[in-house]
Symmetry: C2
Subunit: 335 residues, 2 copies
DNA sequence: ATTAGCAATCAGAAAAAGAGAGTGCTATTT
DNA sequence: AAATAGCACTCTCTTTTTCTGATTGCTAAT
């Protein structure tokens, strides 16, 4: 258990280090605390023994350890509100109802990345609860057509289809059948419904049924794949932090930011809270921190995350994420 | 004018340097040429005076100058055919007719990037010759709907629309009017046609005409913006070349690869040939070379480019680009 | 015209030297 | 008992020096 003064010193050290990116000497703290540097040094030894501080070499100032950051985030961090200026900048995005939700989210995180110099990730999953609302086919020329698919949640997919020697009537009939029979079916059940309900019927009414069945089967097979969108914004901000001044490290992080699985792992344990993953917990790099949260609306749910150095402005980022999460959820659910 | 032997030596030096990334000593060349290193050195002096070679310091081996690369590309480079192995890998992509053209191109350049360790850029412009083929609206709930727009070339756009207090009938009528009156209009002329031809009519037949007109006007305004798609593939390959072992340089290049204007400038002077921009000509970095070409099909045209170090495998890349260009054009036009 | 031979040059690695920041410890004060 | 002043000690970071090896340019010989 830390004394009150130790808490104070630890907080000051973490905050100084976040700001100055340089091991914090006792002299810096004693100015703040009105006591001598020797006193601070004694406390520093205690904090180091407790595992919250580290030295870079025998006679260096102190740097927060991973546990130090953890303790700071869990116990010491000011949970102030979002900065008014930042709120204002984000407000203008959320006020704009013209844009689609995913664009709003991307834009807001773009702004966050620009302001903070950190990197943002947006993961949004195609919901499995989407049901087919309407399918239509627009012929382009003799062999090509565009298939348009809309779900009840307003999700749109389109696919080009090339079919030689199929009559327009056949196509129209097939589309009509699909619209009549499987509208309302959840997208991941369409393939099987197509096989068992539609196939027998179109084989009666449609001449080129074999080819058409196959084509539409493929289209739906494709769409129903449970894909996630991964959007990484402000990647180049990685270069802006002195802990990433090593080209091999930067390369490694860039490769992870491009790696689907690594990015998807961020969204695991979909929690309503804001989660902070410090250093090795981030799964990216020991010098990286990931702060994330999830959102849920009527139509959509997803995860947003900010990636930066372990020496990150924790409270600022937490506030920003919290604000955005609330805006998204208010915007869409509360209307 | 260079002698035959000077040509030979220059070619060997460029090729060695591309392969070994190390200033080429005379000893390396004389093995190849069956003459003494002193002889080669004399020729090197001549080539240096002609501006084709440089030294990194007084007693270093020679490195090709920008002019040296230029001379090599224009006069000395073997214009062999594409490597069979590489052709095979690309073939499988182009054989797959399921994919849309833009996906085929992206995939093939992804493969090129993986094979060569260079970076690829695909620039494809939305053609202005697209004409409206069909518009449809799918209502999602009371206030939201999806507008689907298809052009005669199979280009699809969709926009979410929020409209409070508009009746379904009004919407249907408006869509019908648009379909009746402006299908076939080039997309960049739709806005004005909407204003002068449609507005007067819907104001008669549609109750909430003001709001609907405005909404559709915005939708078309949005789509007709002459946007270009910019797709950069294999960015992380930048890290793989020793000339980019400097973090500031890498940062600078990454920022340029993300910069719309810089990337768009690649497609200028839309030429049918394959163009090579060496060093400062690349507009990216003095150590960078850009090799590009353009393609043109019935539906689409665009530019593809490979970005790598100046010390690039010129002939290999030229062959790859040439092959891909031909495949694209054959694939789409020929058939 | 070509080549052998050799001193001269310079990058890059390794070693040495110097300066400065900050600590830990001890003795002293409060 | 807690806080502080004082000082030797440690270690990084920077600069300087030394050393080695690769490669050249030049001169004289073939």
């Amino acid at each position: 258990m830390l004394t009150k003064r130790q808490n104070e010193i630890l907080k000051l050290i973490v905050m100084s280090y976040i700001k100055l990116a340089h091991p914090v000497p006792s002299s810096l703290i004693c100015e703040e605390l009105n006591c001598s540097s020797a006193t601070v040094r004694n406390e520093m030894v205690a904090l180091e023994e407790a595992g919250y501080l580290e030295k870079t070499h025998t006679s260096s100032g102190r740097v927060p350890s991973e546990a130090g950051y953890r303790y700071y985030v869990d116990n010491l961090m000011d949970k102030a509100n979002i900065n008014k200026d930042e709120e204002y900048k984000l407000q203008t995005i959320f006020a704009n109802r013209q844009l689609e939700l995913s664009d709003v989210i991307t834009k807001s995180l773009q702004i966050v990345s620009d302001m903070t110099l950190y990197t943002s990730v947006i993961l949004d999953e195609k919901s499995h609860e989407n049901k087919l609302k309407e399918i239509s086919v627009v012929p382009i020329n003799n062999t090509e057509m565009v298939v348009l698919i809309v779900t009840d949640k307003g999700y749109v997919e389109h696919k080009d289809l090339r079919l030689d020697d199929v009559s327009l009537d056949d196509i129209k009939n097939t589309v009509k059948l699909i619209n009549d029979l499987i509208v309302g079916t959840p997208i991941d059940e369409i393939s099987s419904k197509l096989e068992f309900d539609i196939k027998p019927i179109i084989s009666k009414y449609v001449k080129q049924h074999e080819m058409l069945y196959k084509a539409f089967y493929n289209v739906f097979e494709d769409i129903s794949k449970p894909g996630s969108n991964i959007n990484v914004v402000g990647k180049n901000n990685i270069f802006k932090h002195k802990e990433f001044n090593d080209i091999d490290k930067v390369q490694d992080i860039f490769e992870k930011l491009d790696d689907k699985d690594t990015m998807l792992s961020i969204k695991e344990e979909n929690d309503n809270d804001i989660k902070v993953y410090i250093g090795h917990e981030s799964n990216l790099d020991d010098d990286v921190t990931v702060i994330k949260t999830s959102y849920k609306t009527d139509k959509d749910n997803g995860t947003i995350a900010i990636i930066g150095p372990k020496r990150m402005e924790y409270s600022r980022v937490v506030n920003l994420l919290d604000y955005i999460k609330k805006q998204i959820e208010r915007d869409e659910n509360g209307k």
